[in-house]
Symmetry: D3
Subunit: 274 residues, 6 copies
């Protein structure tokens, strides 16, 4: 069999060797199946979180588990809304259950650290709850050797990178749905899956500061995107991907290696204070 960072490609005996090191790290990408406008595929979030996990795993010698490919309901303010065809979602209890089960299963097998790499805004709190419940189930408490980390990849985009990717100013993560960041990353990583000729330019969506349910469908632009992807490029995607993978790998390495001497109290990298 080929070497692979993907857990699904390993046989059980090869995997058990990894576990026996006592230092195993399993990254779980979390995405969504969600409309991303006319120019990006439904699987964008799952694909991107998987690619970030793969990049980090290659640097850390970690493994990448099968992604959680369906995410929490798209909210109008961050994803256009769950009423849009193509958006196929899990409710909160189910996503909590998936995260809880995976944490319990991996920690019970002896994985040292589980890291959720999130690529869909709305997932975060439900993953957090699933992790927390799993640790309660297992009796894993502060000071334990095993740990679970949860992050969204965009939180590792540096100020420098942001300034280069958005020379006219950054519109905010919440409306980065089918916008310049995701489109550039896709152009770099999966160009055959991007339809730049279908891209529709226009002003960013202006949404209320409250969530309203049921949604007022007309508030979502017809494209389903909350900000324009005009100005996207493979070069920006490469910059984003490289910088994030590098910083993410460095932070994780510092955090999870520091285990050997007890958990660090100082933050892993200076960039935390950004």
């Amino acid at each position: 069999m080929d070497k692979s960072v993907f857990l699904e490609d390993l046989d059980a005996f090869a995997y058990r060797e990894v576990l026996s090191s006592g230092e195993s790290i399993v990254l779980i990408p979390v995405g969504s199946l969600e409309q991303h406008g006319p120019h990006l595929p439904l699987g964008t979030d799952t694909l991107l979180s998987s690619r970030f996990a793969e990049g980090v795993a290659n640097r850390l010698g970690a493994l990448v588990a099968e992604p959680i490919a369906y995410g929490y309901k798209s909210q109008q303010k961050s994803g256009g809304g769950n009423h849009l065809s193509g958006t196929t979602s899990l409710d909160g209890a189910t996503l909590i259950g998936v995260a809880r089960n995976l944490v319990k299963s991996f920690l019970n097998q002896g994985v040292r650290h589980v890291v959720f790499v999130n690529g869909h805004f709305e997932n975060y709190q439900f993953l957090y709850e699933g992790i927390d419940l799993a640790l309660e189930d297992l009796g894993v408490k502060p000071g334990a050797e095993q740990s679970v980390l949860l992050l969204s990849y965009w939180d590792f985009v540096s100020q420098d990178t942001l300034a280069k990717v958005y020379p006219d100013g950054f519109p905010g993560w919440e409306i980065e749905h089918g916008g310049v960041l995701e489109t550039s990353l896709m152009l770099h990583l999966e160009p055959a899956r991007v339809g730049m000729d279908r891209l529709v330019d226009g002003p960013a969506a202006v949404l209320p500061r409250f969530d309203r349910l049921p949604v007022v469908p007309e508030r979502t632009p017809a494209t389903g995107c909350l900000s324009s992807a005009a100005g996207s490029s493979a070069a920006k995607g490469e910059l984003l991907y490289r910088q994030v993978v590098e910083d993410l790998a460095m932070d994780l390495a510092r955090e999870l290696n520091s285990e050997r001497n007890g958990p660090a109290t100082a933050p892993p990298s200076a960039d935390y204070a950004q």
Copy 2:
């Protein structure tokens, strides 16, 4: 009986008169029982969300329901962590259940609009899920007359106000826990409950960009606050309170009155684009 905007003070017959108008609005404050450092009381979030709801209700002729006084688990990055004594929390399923039940109960009684006024960062997604499930239970779909709104009061602080409250730059909402905003508001609204002599100054907490569970307790400052409250004043609190109540009331009035002519597709106030 006195006039009151608080639902708990009304008798059932007076309440039914309000319902019979067909335009009733019920605001539900949502807070927490959570450590807020040595200078603020455990009930800070519930108290503040209740006061914002009261202010808005007075302007709109709306009612304020009993607050949801216990919130979702405090996370280290936004509240210091759930391991700190004084922090008394609900898990995700329970908070979802509370929101779901209240929405169903109020809409079944004929309330036209329910508005959750949130004052504890970690609650938001679970309230959203509770609302969404309730509307599914009830079969309330886009175009319906009834609606539910969800907001956090700090999202209505304007750029102007922010610049005045934080003359040295705004540190970010996530670490505004026991900091200048909450302390100033408490000094304005409930000065007898603030112990300014117990306030501890110091640099803001610098936390990783990931959540780690179980938490590394040492990463939370000893005070339990994530940023210093030094520089707080009743005057800043008054400014914050007045501006937010005014904008919030205006946005809600525009949003919910526009009902009569069908839901608006343009956002209620120019400030949305901030």
Copy 3:
């Protein structure tokens, strides 16, 4: 800050001092938001259970946590029915969840005894289940130092008091909804919230010995009360309040102090055998 028996008023450090005694008692009032006829406010049950808890806390040096302000569904035989506007309820699973979370949260913080003080008939069994599940989660078994108590305040009304409050005979607790007991207590504790001029006299409701669902709405009197409040007085309310607070405080003191020498096997007070 002022001294207060209310947990929400304490800061975390003051609260931790209480915990450090090893003898802390936290009382949790449990009420409802429920129609109580034309003369009593919707928040009657929450208000009364909070006041009983406050009275007992003052005598015992205990703390009072934020009330559980929404209760289980009103049943026709004890509260007129859940179909009546103003009655805003939680389902069983949610109320169980709230009680379970609060018990776990408080006992994990080191609270020695948690006491639920119930003021809404229908809550009782769901609170019991929440407590029982929490203790199973925590592994707290007979012989443990920590305990949870559950009671309804009316079970501490003595035969003597009953005879004075109901000189013509006591109609039974189940139909004491908006009747002489609750009205008298409100007249004593919160007279501005009682509309005696709106009180409607009439015979007590006569309901079947079974519950029927869906309810037959006409079986509930138009007032929503199951027995008349005629004959209520502030003096009766004062008698009720004083006697119950005194007995309740005495029973709890005997029960929870006896801890030091192992749990008592004899009942705390002679009145148990009433």
Copy 4:
């Protein structure tokens, strides 16, 4: 096949004939598997509720479904406590689920009225919740043709009967666990299952007015009974059984037959006012 009131004995085609009348009534006995002292079998509650259901079914031409043979956890104040071997219980969510499923299943088949005949004190509120949720699932609202009734058989014991069964005064239903009522009924209905020679006499248990968890085991008498069964007799059992079956059948007949002319608003029998 023999004629039988027991649903389990009917074949599907015979059952469908009953349904086709449009007037079918299905009674569901609900009991427990619970210690009942040294003289009564563990299945006492299930057996008694089944026999009451059978007696009523014979009079009404109704059917008796399989009993719910495991009940909610025994509470110390009403059943001695769930820690006693022999007591084998369901938690609240499961009992709610059983009731909810049975109501949905029977009403979906076209049963006109479902009647739960309860024989274990602690079950009541969980059955109620299961019924209420089922009706919400089905959209059955006030005015519907179908209904569900819930009752405990002891609520149909008349004052006359009580006076004869307890010539020295009635100790109260809560501590009637393995006492004169249950023992007399068993002596009448199932004498071979009663071990009168093993009966232990003694004063009734005197328990606090609160529930305490975890229980203090010593508060339950060694027998597990809360009141003495001395004075029980088959004659008393026969009296109890006959009077209750008669009144119960009469009340149900009046309630469920009145359907034809719309639901009655006056209570079925004068005894309601007892």
Copy 5:
């Protein structure tokens, strides 16, 4: 009291004596209330699993608990479908809950081995899940003294018996619903409950290899049986009953007695390899 293998007939003290041996085995029959054609009663599955449990208990000195009398939804491919009147079912969560509660309750009381004896095809996986969750709750892990077994009685029918009962070839367990096996067993064990004159002969149902929902009702034969019961006889029933009870008792004895010397790794009987 009479001797009995039925737990419901024992008093608590007699039961505790059994527990004190440290070798107690409790068998739990699991059936259904389900249409079984025009010739068999609705309670067939519960009755048969109870009789198998009784037969085995008599041989092993084990006890038989009250059956789980309602089962998981009938599937069209194995039971004709859940849409057929007479079929009264639990959903998955509820059946999981019942099994989980019973396992926890019995193991907590000190029962050494719990054995579920299943008589309704669709129950199996939900019982398995309930058992697994209960053992997780209790912390019972490989190597523990206590265990839970789960089996369907038809898996113990030997090849020899099959050949005799189905001389023209065995049609498969899935469509053995109201067929020769169940009918013969009923003719042997409960002849008064079988209506052989109502039996309808005909070819076995031919169903797709997929499940389809909602069901296409016409695919189930009008009788509700998936294969004909023609050819059933009490003699076949006796053969089936005796052989299964004997093999089942032998396997359980070997399995559960081997405990004393540690669990066996070799399978109990040669017939395993059938």
Copy 6:
């Protein structure tokens, strides 16, 4: 963008075109992450179910959704047991939730038929329950235009194929875990992921006819496979794959096309009677 049968590769607008036909079919592969011995990767079940879905989709013009990549707990009798490292599982409630959410989401979007293509034995009943609950939520009843199908791919292996793949006789599906069928299919479809040099030959596992929990670990062969993969070949894999894809596509075409004239009552293919 390339043409693709994979939903994740489509953009939302292309997907909506498919939906607008009114005849859309979405296939959802369901697998597991599970040890499959030393010669097959952990992702075998997910990979195989995905490939079968892909093959069928190509023939039917259907779409393939992201697979459910984690399955229900491995049982010792069919997968070696859930205690084996590499096996990473969901509990029943979570898998039910995933299936329920996906069915609701797809049917709400207007998908005409959803087909679950299962590749992991233990998943089946939980998927069934998820589907059934979703249809209840949606109110989809017999006669509806939309439907959901559930199947395991091995149920479409014909007798002819079986005889060729297992010339010495077929050992049964339950112990086909890492055996000749799965290994041959992998050799045909994904040869680089098979380590034939690591294959261990030996007799099939002989397991009891009951499930025992906690498992007796020694009963599972050291390889984790329940039957030997010796005799596997890419040619057998090709035969299996082609025959199953062809039959499955034919059955689905007949079943789902017959919709236009109302559902068929005769089974789609003669092979049903195998």
